[in-house]
């Protein structure tokens, strides 16, 4: 980031390749495709603008997802449009399953659909910490810093998220997870 602030464009390219996928999914799992793209672009725009005044007080990933969290809170949760997530995922899953056998494809598709459905059913606060963990690759302490909660609350919220997903999958697929 500091290299980019000195005019090194390639430094930004590296950052973008490393973090763009997780950040994009962080948004698409929680809001509609269109909103996710808008938020994704806004976050990177903020990063580019803030490069000159960037202070390396925290890990770049933490800083990036804090911006993303703030964008999500400001723009999405008020609109209550999370249910759109499933539709977007279903479209991409259909393309992916076409390369497998019909039986396997159907089974995996059902499994993914169940998982995405369970993710969409998660309480928003649990869903966000889950995505920060799985997509951002952040540690619990960093997640707690981003969503502005204590470390213990972050751990507890993350445990509840995994437990809820496991129970939801079990009920949807009829097997113990």
């Amino acid at each position: 980031m500091q290299d980019f602030a000195r005019g090194d464009y390639r430094a930004f390219e590296t950052l973008y390749r490393r973090h763009s996928g997780g950040l994009y999914r962080y948004f698409t799992r929680q809001c509609s495709q269109a909103q996710a793209e808008d938020l994704f672009q806004e976050v990177w725009s903020n990063v580019i603008q803030a490069a000159a005044s960037y202070q390396a007080t925290a890990k770049f990933t933490t800083w990036l997802y804090r911006i993303a969290h703030n964008k999500l809170v400001d723009n999405v949760r008020h609109l209550q449009v999370v249910e759109r997530v499933i539709d977007a995922e279903q479209n991409s899953d259909t393309q992916h399953s076409q390369q497998q056998s019909p039986e396997q494809g159907l089974q995996q598709q059902a499994h993914r659909q169940a998982l995405l459905s369970c993710l969409a059913d998660l309480p928003p606060l649990q869903r966000e910490v889950f995505l920060l963990k799985e997509e951002g690759g952040l540690q619990v302490k960093q997640i707690a810093d981003i969503v502005a909660i204590s470390l213990e609350a972050g751990k507890s919220r993350l445990r509840y998220a995994y437990q809820s997903l496991r129970q939801c999958l079990g009920s949807k697929l009829g097997v113990a997870q």
């Binding site: 980019f4 602030a5 005019g7 973008y16 999914r25 725009s45 991409s92 799985e134 995994y162």
Partner: protein, 260 residues
Amino acid sequence: MKPDTHFTYLPEEQNVSDQYQQLPKPAIPAALTSQVLASAKAQASEHGKRHNKAWYKHPALGVAASILVVTVLLVDFQPASIEPPEGVPTGRLPSADSLLQQAPVLQTQVRKRQLSAPREAASLPGVRSILQDAPETVVSLTESEEVIRADQIEQTAFAQQNQQDMEDLARQSNGIMASQQARVPAAALEAPAFLDTEQLDKLLAILQNRQASNTAKTAANKQLFAMLLAFRQQSDGHIPEKYVLFLSDEQRLALGTVNR
């Protein structure tokens, strides 16, 4: 990625995580990526220009700063400005090489010094020479003993003489007293009961004279005592203190002046 020290997956949590990671990952629209990267490229160009225009990056300023630093260092660290404290020798200390070169000379000097030491010791009076001189020393000690012994004999003789004189004086006094007692009636009639102060003063003058001989003083003392004793036997009159000063204790006792 560093492991999370505050959170470890439980087995069932790890299973859910694995299932989630197997989900197909939606691709970022290419238009979106190109738009972001284009914006970043433009901004990077701006950042680069601003960074290169920074006043502290001007080449001339760097040269000037280097000259200034070198000048300050040269001025501050002039050898002449380092003054040693008062009393500290300013000469250079001998180097280790020079000391090593001088080592044989120093060793020779030390050896010569060690060799000359017995000669100096021989110049001191040895026990043998003291023993050879012993008879003379014994002789001189014997002579000293003889001198001391002679002094003792002389002192003894003097004491005996003194004792003899005292005895003679006592006998004489007794004799005078006996004769005077025998002549008391006549003397009492003839001799007046007063002191012949003129004669006594003459005797006193002899006793007070430091240049007078002991014999003269002894004689004067005896005569003084005899006159005073005669006066005492005739009278209880007062005897002036100045005439008693030169009498011995025995004489004073005889006069009865002691404790009077």
